[in-house]
């Protein structure tokens, strides 16, 4: 008989091991899935996880993409992880990401075609503010009226999407675009363009900010009283209050920070890799970042690694579509499975499995 026995305290070894196990389990289950689709499972897995980095032909093209895709995921996930640690569930990072992009791009385009070195920094600030303000809506409603931040932040994603569609056909539409929806392309606006810092590395300012955010979060959580209060609130809310934490301020801090980081991510994306505001500019980074946050154990370094891995599945997935004709949905399922296995494996940190001969 197999039994589960609660551990006296959560196992640190398993806490670090479960993401790795989850990835392995996802590869196995994913391989099985691809096999059922009539593809060679080993080749599929290799195409997703190996070829983007080391393939002779595709490697040079996809390697820079790794940083491009990972940066927004990491930036958003770092912000989310602070809230998740404190039990504040911001599920609407996608909306904050869109609002950051709209605000950042809007401010930039207002100066078109000026050439001033302050334009880009102003856009970063505007993007952060846009995401922050969008996250403050569920924050204010929660602390003032006790509404559920999960529902409000999620619903605001759809409001943001509607706004995005509206501005790309109205307010921010390219006047020289011959009526096509979408804004001017930032490639034609050097002062506001989030270009690569080193050519062909994928390294843009968003990547820099993502790394800074990782370090910032790491220091905050391990070395600062505010980070301690964030963790304490998640572990034991009553003890946090006893320790002098002001719950209202903490909720607003967590939502505000995650909103600002998501907004920045949106601004870097729109002014760089995406290039312009368009109806479907957002590509679900805000939601995928939730998986990244958990896959990284809500730990800054873990999130960094998880972000890179998740970026790899994006690129590898595209490659697999191209090379093997795998459907796009199969890749989304692949990412979903990762979350599923991770949550299932999490049990191992709190419980140990005992095999015993006796049957009941």
């Amino acid at each position: 008989m197999i039994r589960l026995e609660k551990r006296p305290s959560p196992s640190r070894v398993w806490a670090a091991m479960t993401p790795v196990l989850a990835v392995v389990a996802t590869m196995i289950a994913g391989g099985f899935l691809f096999w059922m689709l009539g593809k060679d499972p080993l080749e599929s897995i290799r195409t997703i996880f190996w070829d983007p980095l080391f393939h002779e032909t595709f490697g040079p093209y996809s390697r820079p993409q790794l940083l491009v895709k990972a940066a927004p995921l990491i930036l958003i996930a770092i912000g989310l992880s602070l809230g998740f640690r404190a039990g504040v569930w911001n599920i609407g990072a996608e909306g904050q990401y869109i609002m950051g992009a709209i605000c950042g791009a809007g401010v930039g385009l207002a100066f078109f075609p000026a050439d001033n070195p302050l334009i880009f920094p102003t856009m970063i600030l505007a993007g952060a503010l846009g995401g922050w303000a969008w996250a403050m809506i569920p924050g204010f409603l929660k602390v003032r009226f006790g509404t559920n931040e999960i529902l409000v932040s999620l619903m605001l994603v759809y409001v943001a999407e509607a706004l995005l569609a509206s501005v790309s056909q109205g307010l921010l539409q390219n006047p020289d675009g011959m009526g096509f929806p979408g804004s001017r392309n930032f490639r034609d606006f050097p002062a506001a363009h989030n270009a690569e810092i080193f050519t062909n590395t994928g390294m843009h300012w968003g990547v820099v900010f993502a790394f800074v955010a990782v370090i910032f979060a790491y220091v905050l959580l391990t070395r600062h009283m505010l980070g301690f209060h964030v963790r304490l609130t998640g572990e034991a809310p009553r003890a946090a209050r006893f320790a002098g934490v002001n719950p209202t301020r903490l909720v607003l801090f967590c939502l505000g920070t995650s909103g600002a980081l998501a907004g920045m991510a949106g601004m870097f994306e729109v002014s760089g890799p995406a290039g312009q505001i368009s109806i479907d500019f957002n590509s679900g980074y805000g939601f995928t970042a939730i998986i990244v946050a958990f896959l990284g154990r809500l730990h800054p370094i873990g999130i960094l690694l998880a972000g890179l891995l998740m970026a790899l599945t994006y690129i590898g997935g595209e490659l697999a579509q191209l090379m093997l004709g795998l459907p796009a949905a199969a890749i989304q399922m692949f990412q979903g499975m990762l979350m599923f296995f991770l949550l299932a494996m999490d049990m191992l940190t709190n419980y140990r499995i005992r095999f015993s001969m006796k049957t009941a």
Binding site: R7, P8, S9, P10, T222, R223, H224, M225, L226, F228, R231, L232, E235, A236, R238, A239, A240, R241, F242, A243, G244, N246, K358, A360
Partner: protein, 508 residues
């Protein structure tokens, strides 16, 4: 003697052993329980009492050894199987739903509940037969702790048990309620039901039990007839060394340090108790004991002083200055410290290390931060000091609070506040669930603190404790505080009256 007992025993344990990672909870435990006897299980915290009864009740499976119930092998694989075999248990912490009625709660805990109307009449019948007054239609949230316990007991009795296990049943009862409980237990044993009685309270065991098995560090170290032993002898068997009796030089109390002036406070928890017009002044060097049955405003009283809750009216003054508008850490800066009752989740964060838990309240006074940044080295050495000074048994400050036994965590939580040199210390249930020697050490530290000039307020349901250490005594009843009186010359009966709001509870 055990061999003779074993022949007609109801339950026999033979060589029960249970090991957890890092600790052997029970090591080769053997004894037997006769039908119709009250059998005491005595031991310090961490002696293995809980694990042992969990094995009997089917919650934990022994690694080795055998149990026999009426001569037949007894291997309950879950509590339902244990109940079916006639073993029932009343837990220290009640598992009741506040929003449901007594009858609904009882039905939820039964394996095959009868129809509601039948059940109600059964409850009435049992409650009358055993002298446990209880209305099945009342909402549990409105019941006192004693009444809640009756719900649990009646739930057990409805299953007609042959063995009833009771874990610390009197820790939440008034003296009068204890008497009612003992009457019930005597009626049960007269009918042949055996009772396994776990308690720290030695006088109770002497009054109630016919046989005692004493556990120390997981092993049976002695058996005796507690009626023939003095409480001191029992305690020494249990602890293995002589008890440390707190000593205190009576000192002249100084000036008033902390003062509550007509304090009212609205409770924000669903079944909390509002504080009503509470006034109390405590002088330097004085220990004031606050008795009262749990749920009469103890948590709210502490939160009014700790700064966790805002007052609806009245003032709290520290040496004449109003501190009612200060937050917890601002009060800590002024040396007003507190230790709430609930260890896991309120005074400590269960999954955080002891070092992190030291930071929880000591950051301000011990200067554990510098411009908001944490000084982990200093924090860890403070945690180590607490562990050393208060003899907290743990491998080290990196261990999670949850991994400590209740008594050890309590020593840590009290030690954390005492070592910060408070001028005012408010503690709620400082020795709840703590073994005799640790409790004595905690009490001594509170007395030392007062001797050094601090004002100490002890909220407790253990009257013996309050009588032992308090200079003045008062009690909370339905959120109201009685006028404090000197402890000297108080009788348990007078105290019972204060705890019942001045009116004698009508006996059933």
């Amino acid at each position: 003697m055990e061999e003779i007992r074993a022949q007609d025993a109801l339950l026999t344990l033979e060589g029960l052993t249970k090991a957890y990672p890092g600790v052997v909870a029970n090591d080769d435990v053997s004894f037997s329980i006769l039908p119709g006897e009250v059998h005491a299980l005595l031991g310090e915290n961490g002696a293995g009492k809980s694990t042992l009864v969990k094995m009997i009740y089917g919650l934990v499976k022994p690694d080795q050894g055998e149990m026999r119930l009426k001569g037949e092998v007894f291997e309950p694989y879950n509590p339902a199987a244990a109940r079916a075999a006639g073993v029932a248990m009343v837990f220290q912490h009640f598992s009741l739903f506040d929003a449901l009625t007594v009858a609904e709660n009882i039905a939820l805990g039964m394996d095959n509940p009868p129809k509601p109307r039948e059940l109600t009449s059964q409850i009435r019948q049992v409650s009358e037969a055993y002298g446990l007054p209880l209305d099945p239609k009342r909402t549990v949230g409105d019941l006192s702790a004693g009444e809640r316990q009756r719900v649990e007991i009646i739930r057990c009795l409805l299953q007609d048990p042959k063995l009833l296990i009771m874990d610390e049943p009197t820790s939440v009862l008034t003296p009068h309620e204890v008497e009612i409980l003992f009457e019930t237990l005597r009626k049960l044993t007269a009918e042949g039901t055996a009772i396994l009685y776990i308690s720290h309270k030695l006088e109770e065991i002497r009054a109630l039990c016919e046989h005692a098995t004493i556990l120390r560090l997981g092993k049976v170290v002695d058996t005796c007839d507690p009626r023939e032993k003095s409480a001191r002898e029992l305690a020494e068997m249990m602890v293995g060394t002589s008890l440390h009796v707190p000593e205190r030089d009576p000192s002249e109390p100084g000036d008033v340090v902390i003062e509550m002036d007509h304090v009212s406070l609205h409770s924000h928890t669903a079944f909390g108790t509002d504080l009503k017009d509470v006034s109390l002044a405590v002088r330097a060097g004085e220990v004031v004991g606050i008795g009262g049955v749990a749920g009469n405003g103890q948590d709210e009283f502490l939160s009014a002083l700790s700064g966790e809750a805002w007052l609806s009216s009245g003032e709290v003054r520290l040496k004449g200055t109003c501190i009612a508008n200060l937050r917890p850490n601002q009060r800590r800066a002024l040396a007003v410290l507190s230790a709430p009752e609930e260890r896991l989740g309120h005074s400590a964060a269960p999954d955080m290390s002891l070092t992190e838990n030291a930071l929880l309240t000591a950051a301000v006074r011990q200067r554990l931060t510098k411009r908001g940044f944490l000084r982990w080295g200093k924090t860890e050495s403070f945690a180590k000091d607490v562990i050393k000074e208060f003899d907290v048994r743990t491998p080290g400050p990196d261990n999670a609070a949850r991994s400590l036994s209740g008594g050890n965590l309590q020593k840590f939580v009290i030690g954390r506040e005492v070592l910060q040199k408070p001028e005012v210390l408010v503690v709620n249930q400082p020795t709840w669930g703590v073994d005799a020697s640790a409790a004595a050490a905690i009490r001594q530290s509170l007395l030392d603190l007062a001797a050094d000039g601090a004002a100490v307020i002890v909220i407790s349901q253990d009257l013996d404790e309050l009588l032992e250490i308090a200079d003045r005594f008062t009690a909370l009843y339905e959120g109201k505080l009685a006028d404090p009186v000197p402890t000297k010359g108080l009788t348990v009966e007078t105290i019972g009256l204060m705890m019942g709001g001045g009116e004698e509870e009508t006996a059933a």
